[in-house]
Every structure is written in structure tokens, then in C-alpha cells.
């Protein structure tokens, strides 16, 4: 099966029109000694065979009840999201270069940008980036560009894979990255941050809720950062903004984050999307595509790609980023996801996450051999538990019971030895949480 429709008669006619006898003549320009041998790749499967083949491969993945987050989360995805991103008018369309023939995509992106701005309290959003990690790296590059300074402070509460991605992106730049340690209560101490910022600091990058689930006091941290004329890059979980302070409220300059929680499945960690929203003054410096509203010749409202002189296809090596293809379909999923809850429903969703996590937290920390790592801190849907039990054994037992247990934090630094990062979203019902607790009791 190779999805080519031409029959022999068509091919013959086409060759005649070209004025050649066989297809090989079209490749005459390629030196003979470079011509490939037959490719050793199995295939030729029919649709029916493919289905069977992949069902078998899929069966090698285990479907688990998840109590694990750390950047990718099991959330409810309403049917409408699947219906819309499953429409071939969206998934088979290209980047909307011909605006008159792409108004569906363009209006949806405009709506997406508006929703991201509403949620984050920021002025301007782009059309999406690849994921939360690359959005963070792009935010750092944006800060370096506009500030002409070269020092970047990153909280150690930022997702470790995001920090690694930032380091990769900055590998050959002059920028210096320094990591700010969290204090014993699992979040950043304002005075520590204050003392580290100097006049060469381009930006301070802080995640809230941080990697360990703790909600940072972004307001207090912001005032330190602002007073030193550094830019504030806030990495936020968009779902948590139903309850917690929005980046616009605490004057963040750039807000970024992972969009998977807004209607994309976990899919082994991708494809997801990253969002980026900035203050008005930074909009011309932003990476990625942006859609704007305009009018057509008859005065009707319409939408186009705009501020394009920032982009690689116009500005080439002077572009604000090399990004071209982004994660449009996942951003569309977010657009459909965000438009169906209403304000009350969306806040409620966030509150349910907190409540279920808190229910689990209260039960687990009171078990023998388990205690809260950050007893009094505020969290969203993740929390750290310290245990005297064997962590490998815990997760082994849970896996046997089809539960994806908490993340082992022993790689997250000395202070997290014997620590577990639990995640409880609205997807987990009381019975599932209770049976998790029951299993932990027996270990």
C-alpha cells in the first residue's frame, strides 16, 4: 500500500508528455555510483494488517491509573475537543499562509491567543511553541535579547528537563545560567532571590506550582525582581490559574508553560504545546507566529498572520526565533477546552484538583512511615511525601495493581532522598485514592 493512485496507462501517458521512455530518465542527473541499493525495510502491509500489527505493539504499553505528574498530567478531555481536532479540515490543513483560505485556523488561533491572555492576565500571546520546555528556553532568549544582559537565574523548582533544555539552547551563547536553590520549605526565599539579582541579571525564571508541587509567592518574588530591573519569566500551570494568581497580576514580563493540561492527551510526553504570553512592550520581540485581526476589501472582519517581520521566512538569521512549524492542533485543542467551562466551571475544576490532592495528602501523610515534606505549604495537585519505606518496592507493588505510583525524587538532589512526588487530578475518584492508600498501608 503506497497511496499512489496512478495506473500503468496514466504513467505511460505522463512519460509520453514529458518525452521520455521510462522513469529512470528523470534521475539521470544523479551520479550512478551514488544510486541506492534496494532499501532493506520491511513493509507492504495492508490496512487490516497494520491495524493488527499496531494493536499488538500497543498491548506492550500498560494502561495505568496515574498518580504521577511531573510535567505531564492525566486530565479529563471533553468529547468536543476530540471531535474538533479530529475534523480533517483542521488536521490536514497547512500553516495558514493563504489567509482567505484559512479563516478557520486563523480565527481559532486568534481566539486561542485571546483565551491565553485572559487566563494569564498578560497582554499578548503567540500562536504556540513546541512545549513547556522550549517555551521556557525561548522566554530566556527573549529576555537576553531585550535586556542586553547576560545572566539568567533559574529556580531549582523549575522542571529539571526544562532547565536542561534551556542549557542546551544557550550552549553557545555568552549567557550564564545560575540555579537558585529552594529553601527548606520547598519554595524560593525572597531574600535569597533578592541577594542574587545584580545589574547583569537579564531575567529570573520561576515556576509555580514548582516541580515539587509547591505554589510560590510570586507577588513577593516579583517585587524583588522588578526593583532590580530584571525581567520576570513565570512558568505556570494554566489549569492552576483557575484559582491561583495570574502572571499579569504580579507583573510578570513573560508567562510560559506547558499546554498539555488543556485538552491534550499524555501521549508519552508529546505532542503537546507550549504557550507564551508577554507584556505589550515585548510583543514585537516575541518568537513564533501571531495572528491579528483586520478587515477584507468589503470591510468584513478577518484574520491574518501578522508581525511577520520577526520571523525566519522574512528576517532569516536576524529572526527572533527559528521556529516555523509549531503545535497548532494542540493549541486548537486548548482553545476548545478553554471555551466550554465558563469562569465558575474552570475555577471549580482547579478547586477539585486541589481538593482531591489534599484528600490524598491528608491520608497518606498520616500513614506509618510516610510524612509530609512541606507540611504547611500550598499546593495544586502535586505534593511531596517523605518515606522510610523502600521506594522501589512501593512502586513495584502499585504497578502490580495497575497503578502508576508517585515519582521517585531521589535524583532531584540530596534533600529529596526518600521522597515521592504524588499527583492527584480530577480524574482520580475517591475509591481509587482510597485503594492507593490501602496498598501503601500494606507495604
Amino acid at each position: 500500500m503506497d497511496y499512489t493512485p496512478q495506473n500503468q496507462k496514466d504513467k505511460k501517458q505522463m512519460l509520453e508528455s514529458i518525452g521520455i521512455g521510462n522513469i529512470d530518465e528523470l534521475f539521470k542527473i544523479i551520479p550512478n555510483h551514488l544510486k541506492a541499493k534496494d532499501l532493506n525495510i520491511s513493509g507492504g502491509k495492508t490496512e487490516q494488517e497494520l491495524l493488527k500489527y499496531f494493536l499488538n505493539i500497543a498491548s506492550k504499553n500498560k494502561k495505568l491509573i496515574s498518580f504521577r505528574g511531573a510535567g505531564i498530567y492525566d486530565h479529563f478531555i471533553p468529547s468536543l475537543v476530540g471531535e474538533i481536532v479530529g475534523r480533517s479540515e483542521f488536521w490536514t490543513a497547512y500553516t495558514p499562509y493563504q489567509s482567505e483560505a484559512s479563516q478557520g485556523t486563523l480565527q481559532a488561533v486568534f481566539e486561542y491567543q485571546s483565551l491565553i491572555c485572559a487566563l494569564t492576565g498578560m497582554d499578548t500571546s503567540n500562536a504556540s511553541l513546541y512545549d513547556g520546555a522550549t517555551a521556557t528556553a525561548e522566554a530566556v532568549l527573549l529576555a537576553l535579547r531585550v535586556s542586553s544582559k547576560n545572566r539568567i537565574l533559574i529556580s531549582s523548582g523549575v522542571h529539571p528537563e526544562y532547565i536542561q533544555t534551556v542549557k542546551t539552547y544557550l550552549e553557545n551563547s555568552k549567557a550564564k545560567i545560575e540555579i537558585i536553590s529552594l529553601s527548606d520549605n520547598g519554595r524560593l526565599d525572597k531574600n535569597t532571590v533578592d541577594s542574587l539579582i545584580d545589574n547583569t541579571t537579564a531575567a529570573v525564571v520561576i515556576q509555580s506550582p514548582n516541580y515539587f508541587g509547591v505554589v510560590e509567592d510570586m507577588d513577593a518574588l516579583s517585587s524583588s525582581i522588578k526593583s532590580k530591573n530584571s525581567l520576570f519569566v513565570a512558568i505556570v500551570n494554566p489549569l492552576s490559574l483557575g484559582v491561583f494568581k495570574a502572571p499579569g497580576e504580579y507583573s510578570a514580563d513573560i508567562a510560559v508553560g506547558e499546554g498539555q493540561v488543556l485538552g491534550s492527551s499524555m501521549s508519552a510526553g508529546g505532542a503537546t504545546f507550549g504557550f507564551m504570553a508577554v507584556k505589550k512592550s515585548l510583543e514585537w520581540k516575541m518568537p513564533g507566529r501571531i495572528v491579528g485581526q483586520t478587515t477584507d476589501r468589503d470591510g468584513r472582519r478577518g484574520f491574518v498572520l501578522t508581525l511577520q517581520s520577526r520571523e525566519q521566512h522574512i528576517r532569516r538569521e536576524k529572526a527572533t526565533s527559528n521556529i516555523c512549524t509549531n503545535a497548532s492542533l494542540n493549541a486548537l485543542a486548548a482553545c476548545v477546552f478553554l471555551s466550554g467551562w465558563g469562569n465558575v466551571g474552570f475555577s471549580n475544576l482547579a478547586e477539585i484538583n486541589i481538593s482531591k490532592a489534599r484528600y490524598a495528602f491528608t491520608k497518606i501523610k498520616s500513614l506509618d512511615g510516610f510524612k509530609a515534606k512541606f507540611e504547611t505549604e500550598t499546593f495544586f495537585n502535586e505534593f511531596v511525601i517523605e518515606t522510610s519505606k523502600n521506594i522501589k518496592k512501593i512502586n513495584k507493588v502499585l504497578l502490580k495493581n495497575n497503578i502508576l505510583g508517585p515519582l521517585d525524587l531521589s535524583n532531584a538532589g540530596d534533600s529529596f532522598k526518600n521522597c515521592l512526588l504524588f499527583c492527584v487530578t480530577e480524574q482520580r475518584d475517591k475509591a481509587e485514592i482510597d485503594s492507593l492508600v490501602e496498598l501503601l498501608t500494606k507495604i
Binding site: 500500500m1 503506497d2 499512489t4 496512478q6 496514466d10 508528455s17 514529458i18 534521475f27 544523479i30 551514488l34 544510486k35 541506492a36 532499501l39 525495510i41 513493509g43 497494520l50 499496531f54 505493539i57 500497543a58 504499553n61 494502561k63 511531573a70 471533553p78 468536543l80 475534523r87 490543513a93 497547512y94 493563504q98 483560505a101 479563516q103 478557520g104 485571546s114 483565551l115 513546541y130 533544555t165 553557545n172 484559582v243 491561583f244 494568581k245 492527551s265 499524555m266 507566529r289 491579528g292 485581526q293 478577518g302 501578522t306 508581525l307 525566519q312 529572526a319 527559528n322 509549531n326 503545535a327 497548532s328 492542533l329 471555551s339 466550554g340 467551562w341 465558563g342 486541589i354 480530577e426
Partner: protein, 476 residues
């Protein structure tokens, strides 16, 4: 005109809701609590479904029209791939699941890497990158790290002026200086000009083969020799790989690093702009620098190896855009080696058939034989102030997506056409007739029709200048 979501918002019962079977107990301290309104719309499910369905109908998509978008390889996206990728056993998988619980995911990645090596003639692949430009960045970082490891200071990357904009942008992003190489009128590389810019500071040269004018680089052997004799590396932009699968392999041509766009050559959909996937392939001496984790096979078990001390690190979180990788693998298993070769042959045949029908009527700067795409420059035919943009907009009226226009930059008023192998002769014939009708008849007889175009689209020509001058980037 379709209303915006905020205009649809009312006091109705919103579309979604979840119940909670534990007591609501949020306990958020005042200093952490959101105090500004959320500003989300309130819309019923029925109305939301109509809204987004109506929006979708304003798109020209590959599933509704012929999409001869040069350089983008808008080939048919097989439905079986989508069906496979919709399986919960692939979707409801957490990236940090224990290795034994994601063997299916790792098997797909491992096997696709292997098959891509065979197609490309490279020794190993990394699938982590989320798009072509992301692959370019990764490949260039690998090159930088390699020269660092052998303690050579090479700060420059040669990029021909016919290259995609992402090439110079990615090179700059990776910390290199760009040396622009002027290409010949057919987009090919002059060996003399290359020699002039090939200084000891050059780390690598980026090449698109066939080039963006659809011409195979006939001097590739000599280019490869010159570049390597200079101690530099050769980078293959895989955007045009659809022309040469099973015919010639980048690795055999001397390329050291390359990327592939799975969302072009390997049939995965473009999703109105993404997600894509940009695997990079390298020769074995560069393997040690690839992003982590690497998928490896130990006995019968797939494992993830994060312990690669020379790796450039991570390009994004987790492993890559897995659903895209999965669909590409399904495509490879449908076609096999033979099918892939047939794809390239048909893609090249389709393009040449179209070219043959145009060549006597419209100027073609790169000659009468092409690979999988070709570029028209109709400038000499222009009358009555008509330009390429007008032809493109008029094509929309006839129910076609427009070809790529004004690219490559080295061709005046360029129209870049890539039919792909999945279009029938009948589709091509109809399109050829329409283009000829526009250029040969409407140009003279009805120029106003072109200036007024499009008239059959949901909106008429949009004012891009106004959009950029007074940006409105969200609803009020």
C-alpha cells in the same frame, strides 16, 4: 461571519463540567489567590460544536482540495495512521512510566530510527525534535559540540541564498555566523564560489538536495569533497527528501548530519501548523553528541539511556512528538522499502508531467527536468499590473490552495509547485488547465478578475498592512 467565542458567551449552562466525590477543600491563602476575573466564555456544548465546525469549514484543507504547496509535501495523510494513533494504549501513557510499562512506545521509536537510517544512509537517528527547524537546531548544536570536542574553533556555517529561512535562523540560534553563498540561477552551487567562502573557520555547509528550485545538485560529489577536505561537515536539509527515497541516500552523498520532516515525507498531517517532528540522523562519529535519552535495546527489552556525557542535552521535555513518530512508523510499515522508492518515483513523475505542460508557456528558471517540485517565474507574461499574488488568490477561487509563492527568494515572482505522489493524473490535468486559463486568458481578457480575487472564499483579500500597523491580537 462567524462570531468570536466572547461574542457567543451567555449566561447559559456551559458545555463541560466535572463532579467531585470528595469534599471541596481548596484552602488557598489570600496572597496566592487569583483576584482578577478569568474572562473565559460561557458557551453551551451545542453552540460550541457549531462554532468550531463552522470555523473548520472556512479552511481549505488537504482533505477538501488539491494543495500544491511547494516545499511542504502536502501528500495524503493516511487515515489508518490516525486510527492507530487514536488508541488509548498509546495516548494514555505517561512518559515517566516504568520502562516495562512503555515497551510499545519504545519499540516504535527504536524501529522507526532503524528504518530512517536505512532510508537516509545514516548510522543513527534521534527522534526528539518537534519540527524541522528544531531538527536543524539540534543538528547544528551537534556540529558545534563535535568541533569543541576536537578543540577546533569553527564559528561559521555556509548557507546558500536559495535555502529555507529556517537554515540561517537555526544556524544563528545555535551560535554560528552565517556565510551566505550566492547560488546559480537554477539554485545549484558553483564550485568556484564555494571555494571562495570555504575558510578554516567554516564548521559546516547546509544544503537542500534537491534544492528549493527542484534541481538535484549535480556537483554533490565535488562539494562533499571540498567541504570535507576543508575539515568541515555537510548538513542535509531533509525538506525535499520525498524526491529521492530509495534512489539516492544523503549518507552516501557524504552528508554527516541531516534532519527529516516526518510531517512532510512520512505522511503525517500538518495539523494547521503542527505538531510536526524533525528527527536528526548522523554518522557514527557524531552519535555520542545526540540528545538524551537514547532508546536502546538490551536483549529483548527496550531501555532509555540518559547517561551520555557528551550529549548536547535535551531539545525538549521527554522523548519527542510520539503520535507523529507513531504515524510515520505506520506509514513506513505500509510502504516498506519498495513502496518508499515508488513514492519518490511517482512524486518526481507527477512534478515533471506538470512541468512539461507548463514549460512552453511559462518561464522556468531551472530547466525542463525537475525532481519532486519546480518553480515558475511568470513575470515575463505579466500584463495589466498583475502579479504572482493575484494568480495565487485567483487559484483560491477555482477551489485550489495556492502554491508556495515568492519563494525561493532568488526567483522573481516565484510560484513553487509540488504535486506529491498521491495526486491522480486527473487532478493534475484539471489544475494545469486552470493555471493556463488564468495566465493565458484571464491575464489579458479579464485582469480585473485577478485583482478582485478571491471572491469565492469566506472573506475577500485581507488588509495585512493594517493588521501589522495597528495590531489587534486578541478580542477586546
Amino acid at each position: 461571519m462567524e462570531k468570536l467565542l466572547n461574542e457567543l458567551s451567555s449566561e447559559c449552562q456551559p458545555a463541560y463540567g466535572v463532579e467531585c466525590d470528595v469534599a471541596i477543600n481548596a484552602q488557598v491563602p489570600e496572597n496566592l489567590k487569583r483576584s482578577i476575573p478569568l474572562g473565559l466564555p460561557n458557551i453551551a456544548e451545542n453552540d460550541l460544536l457549531r462554532h468550531f465546525t463552522n470555523l473548520s469549514r472556512k479552511n481549505y484543507a488537504l482533505s477538501t482540495v488539491f494543495y500544491p504547496l511547494g516545499s511542504c509535501t502536502m501528500k495524503y495523510n493516511p487515515l489508518i495512521n490516525e486510527r492507530i494513533a487514536r488508541n488509548d494504549a498509546f495516548n494514555n501513557v505517561h512518559p515517566y512510566q516504568p520502562i516495562e510499562a512503555i515497551q510499545g512506545v519504545l519499540e516504535v521509536m527504536y524501529e522507526l530510527e532503524k528504518d530512517l537510517c536505512e532510508v537516509a544512509g545514516m548510522d543513527t537517528f534521534s527522534l526528539q525534535q518537534a519540527a524541522g527547524a528544531h531538527g536543524e537546531l539540534a543538528g547544528l548544536l551537534v556540529i558545534a559540540k563535535y568541533f569543541k570536542s576536537i578543540k577546533q574553533k569553527r564559528r561559521k556555517i555556509i548557507v546558500p541564498d536559495s535555502a529555507h529561512g529556517t537554515n540561517p535562523a537555526s544556524a544563528a540560534f545555535a551560535g554560528f555566523e552565517i556565510v551566505l553563498l550566492k547560488s546559480e540561477p537554477d539554485g545549484s552551487i558553483s564550485l568556484d564560489k564555494l571555494k571562495e567562502v570555504l575558510t578554516p573557520e567554516v564548521a559546516a555547509m547546509m544544503l537542500t538536495v534537491p534544492n528549493t528550485l527542484g534541481v538535484f545538485e549535480k556537483n554533490i560529489d565535488e562539494i562533499s569533497k571540498l567541504v570535507h577536505d576543508n575539515g568541515s561537515l555537510l548538513y542535509y536539509d531533509g525538506a525535499n527528501l520525498n524526491a529521492v527515497m530509495g534512489i539516492v541516500r544523503p549518507g552516501d552523498m557524504g552528508f554527516d548530519v541531516m534532519h527529516i520532516n516526518l510531517h512532510k515525507t512520512f505522511s503525517t498531517p500538518h495539523g494547521c501548523g503542527g505538531p510536526g517532528s524533525g528527527p536528526i540522523g548522523v554518522k557514527s562519529f557524531l552519535e555520542t553528541f545526540l540528545p538524551v535519552p537514547r532508546v536502546e535495546k538490551k536483549k529483548d527489552k527496550y531501555v532509555l539511556n540518559y547517561k551520555k556525557s557528551k550529549s548536547i542535552g535535551k531539545l525538549k521535555a521527554f522523548f519527542g512528538n510520539f503520535p507523529v513518530i507513531l504515524k510515520a512508523y505506520a506509514y513506513v510499515k505500509a510502504l516498506g522499502g519498495k513502496g518508499l522508492k515508488n513514492v519518490s518515483e511517482q512524486a518526481v513523475l507527477n512534478a515533471n508531467y506538470m512541468l512539461a505542460k507548463f514549460k512552453d508557456k511559462i518561464n522556468i528558471p531551472a530547466g525542463n527536468i525537475c525532481m519532486h517540485e519546480f518553480v515558475l517565474s511568470p513575470k515575463t507574461l505579466f500584463k495589466n499590473d498583475i502579479r504572482t499574488i493575484d494568480i495565487a488568490k485567483r487559484l483560491l477561487d477555482y477551489g485550489y490552495y495556492a502554491p508556495t509563492i515568492y519563494f525561493p527568494l532568488i526567483v522573481d515572482e516565484a510560484i513553487m509547485i509540488e504535486p506529491t505522489e498521491t495526486e491522480s493524473k486527473e487532478t493534475l490535468d484539471k489544475f494545469i488547465n486552470v493555471v493556463n486559463k488564468i495566465i493565458l486568458e484571464e491575464f489579458c481578457r479579464d485582469p480585473q478578475k485577478l485583482k478582485d480575487a478571491p471572491i469565492n472564499t469566506p472573506v475577500r483579500r485581507l488588509n495585512e498592512v493594517e493588521a501589522a500597523r495597528k495590531p489587534i491580537l486578541k478580542w477586546e
